[in-house]
């Protein structure tokens, strides 16, 4: 240390040595198992080193050692709060390699279930963020109430609340059960009111504002340098949303806004942005329910009575756009040889999957680009010079999910 610096330290009598402490891996407020190696000067953070890998499950290796069909069931576990998106990224990459065309109804079903999943993910973030900031009383349960409704719907269609295994290579796994679409549109109708309720409690609350405004500012350039994506990047004012900038699936047929916040990119902006995004997702859901070819599953079932659900590709009730699956799902599912990459916009950012296939029933190589991992990289810069009490406020606001970091 330079002599003048030592002098500066000793001249202020109150200054003591820096202290290194561990935060995590089992800190109750870290969502998962993240260890932060903090260098503290009194109350203030001087240096942060995130230690990742506690939840490493060799997801890529597993993909190379299991058949395509088997790996589809595992992939939801990469990001367990938004399993639809990981399945979707892999399915899209595999479809690109294989060259198979997903039927239109299948694409709409994918958008519906994944937008529902996006809302559940943001709702969970909102609820736990309340806890991170110390709102232990009842608020966390308001978002969880709506989340529960959505999870019940996702469970009814896919079979499990979080490990959906619903979006498959070639389409989606099953048609919705009777009455499902009606329940979704019921939810879509009431959801904006619920979001108003959360906002009434949080957005203008003076304590909430004090805790979040001007805290953890993520500068535009810094965010771009670190490869931060998703709501955290958009809150810093970069309009990057793959659904809009590089529309995939049927997003080009839907009218929706990508909320951009023109603020400094602080913790409060990220909150505002996610709330806006939930409203947009709701809007997307509403449009999908109107536009989906074949109408609701119940209507389609009525129509299919005429042809007795023949399942022929040229049938006007079963084939073409009204199919949900283009590739037969069985144990011997194969993907043509080749390599391909595709990315989608997950609730946390750009989720990419890179595949090399040799034409067999297992992949030769899998590579995941996980948004949480890249977003976490920006965390040390955000935490510097903030008091310990703000660590959770900032860490929570970038919405990192640890299994997605470590995979």
């Amino acid at each position: 240390m330079a002599p003048e610096k030592i002098e500066a330290l000793t001249s202020t009598r109150l200054k003591t040595d820096e202290m290194i402490i561990n935060m995590g891996p089992q800190h109750p407020a870290t969502h998962g198992v993240l260890r932060l190696l903090l260098t503290l000067d009194g109350e203030f953070v001087k240096h942060v080193e995130p230690v990742v890998g506690h939840l490493h499950r060799a997801q890529e290796w597993q993909g190379q050692n299991r058949t395509w069909f088997q790996y589809q069931a595992l992939i939801d576990r990469v990001d367990y709060l938004s399993g639809m998106f990981t399945s979707w990224a892999m399915a899209r990459a595999a479809e690109k390699v294989d060259g198979c065309q997903v039927p239109l109804r299948g694409e709409y079903m994918r958008v519906i279930v994944s937008e529902m999943n996006r809302i559940t993910s943001h709702l969970l973030w909102l609820g736990t963020y309340g806890i991170d900031l110390g709102a232990m009383f009842g608020f966390p349960f308001y978002p969880f109430r709506e989340r529960e409704k959505l999870l019940d719907l996702l469970e009814a269609i896919s079979g499990q609340r979080m490990m959906f295994n619903y979006i498959r290579i070639g389409g989606v796994q099953s048609e919705a059960p009777p009455g499902w679409f009606a329940k979704v549109s019921e939810f879509v109708k009431e959801f904006p009111d619920r979001v108003d309720e959360y906002e009434a409690i949080l957005t203008n609350n003076p304590i909430f504002i004090k805790r979040t405004k001007g805290v953890g500012i993520l500068k535009k350039q810094l965010a771009l340098d670190y490869g931060v994506t998703g709501p955290s990047l958009r809150a810093s004012g970069v309009p990057l949303d793959l659904r809009k900038t590089k529309p995939y699936s049927v997003y080009d047929r839907l009218k929706f806004e990508v909320p951009i916040h023109e603020g400094d990119g602080d913790t409060f902006d990220r909150y505002v942005l996610r709330v806006k995004e939930m409203r947009e997702s709701n809007e997307i859901l509403r449009q999908c329910l109107e536009q989906i070819p074949g109408g609701t599953a119940d209507e389609l079932r009525e129509r299919r009575k005429a042809c007795n659900s023949c399942g022929k590709a040229d049938c006007s009730n079963c084939g073409g756009d009204l199919m949900i699956m283009a590739k037969k799902q069985n144990a011997g599912l194969r993907i043509k040889a080749g390599e391909g990459f595709d990315a989608i916009e997950s609730p946390r950012g750009i989720l990419g999957c890179y595949i090399i296939s040799t034409g067999g029933d297992t992949a030769y190589r899998f590579k995941w680009r996980n948004p949480s991992f890249c977003n976490l990289a920006a965390l040390p810069d955000l935490l510097i010079d903030h008091p310990i009490a703000d660590i959770m406020a900032i860490f929570g606001s970038i919405d990192v999910i640890l299994p997605d970091v470590d995979r």
Binding site: Q70, A73, E155, G159, I201, P206
Partner: protein, 255 residues
């Protein structure tokens, strides 16, 4: 000064708005469920404990021992013991074990099953005191006729009548021509039967060690066995007592 007062009033107003929202909730019906008293209303697609269905109409076991489920399982938690019946030349199920401690309830096995035999039930309360107790055998897995009917109707799509006739009738039909036409084939089964009886007698001590249910499950199949199945019988008998020991040990330590 005035600014401060204004800000305080504004803050108070927004806090009150928030609290009013909270207060409104007290008037609403609770959404939480008292779990053990009220069971959740689970959808048919729910992936719970695995089970083997019987035909809801004829109560005949649907499994054809094709081992598709065993092959596809990512966790390798299904273990099927089957042999080729000497009388009908068809595969016969001897035992079917699923280790629910390994299973991740992905439902892939239920998707590949050609006869919709293996299904995910809505049962999720299956905690137990030892890991061995989570290994369910054929008897524990097989659903009753009523339960099968319930799940077939609840899951909508699976066909409730997956051809009850082909299984028993071709079997009987195949057996009859074999009796009538192929004369050399005829003496074989009766000859096998006494031998089988001896085999059953030999394995009887081992069988007594087994739980009563397990023995009952193996006996009907054991009657139809031929000489070549003795090996498989021995193989099966060997791991069984060890499993029984495994079961007994945790009990002892607990006691």
């Amino acid at each position: 000064m005035f600014g401060l007062v204004g800000r305080a009033v504004e803050s108070l107003y927004y806090v009150c708005v928030g609290l009013w929202t909270v207060a409104k909730h007290t008037g609403r019906a609770p959404i939480t469920k008292e779990f053990p008293d009220t069971m959740p209303d689970l959808p048919g697609a729910f992936r719970g404990r695995l089970a083997l269905a019987v035909n809801p109409e004829t109560s005949e076991h649907l499994c054809i021992s094709c081992r598709q489920c065993e092959r596809v399982c990512p966790d390798k938690c299904i273990d099927i013991t089957a042999h080729k019946s000497p009388e009908t030349g068809k595969l016969e199920l001897i035992d079917f074990k699923i280790d629910h401690g390994l299973c991740m309830f992905c439902g892939l096995c239920t998707e590949v099953c050609p006869t919709t035999c293996i299904i995910n039930t809505n049962d999720f309360e299956m905690s137990d005191y030892s890991r061995e107790a989570l290994i369910y055998d054929l008897k524990k897995l097989t659903l009753t006729q009523d339960e099968s009917a319930h799940y077939f109707s609840k899951k909508y799509l699976p066909i409730p009548k997956p051809k009850p006739k082909p299984a028993p009738k071709p079997a009987a039909a195949a057996a009859k021509p074999a009796d009538g036409v192929a004369a050399p084939a005829k003496p074989a089964p009766p000859a096998a039967k006494p031998a089988e009886g001896a085999a059953a007698a030999k394995s009887a001590p081992a069988a007594t060690d087994k739980p009563a249910g397990d023995a009952a499950a193996t006996k009907p199949t054991a009657e139809k066995k031929a000489d070549d199945s003795k090996d498989s019988e021995k193989e099966k008998a060997a791991p069984e007592p060890s499993a029984a020991e495994g079961k007994a040990e945790p009990d002892k330590t607990e006691g």
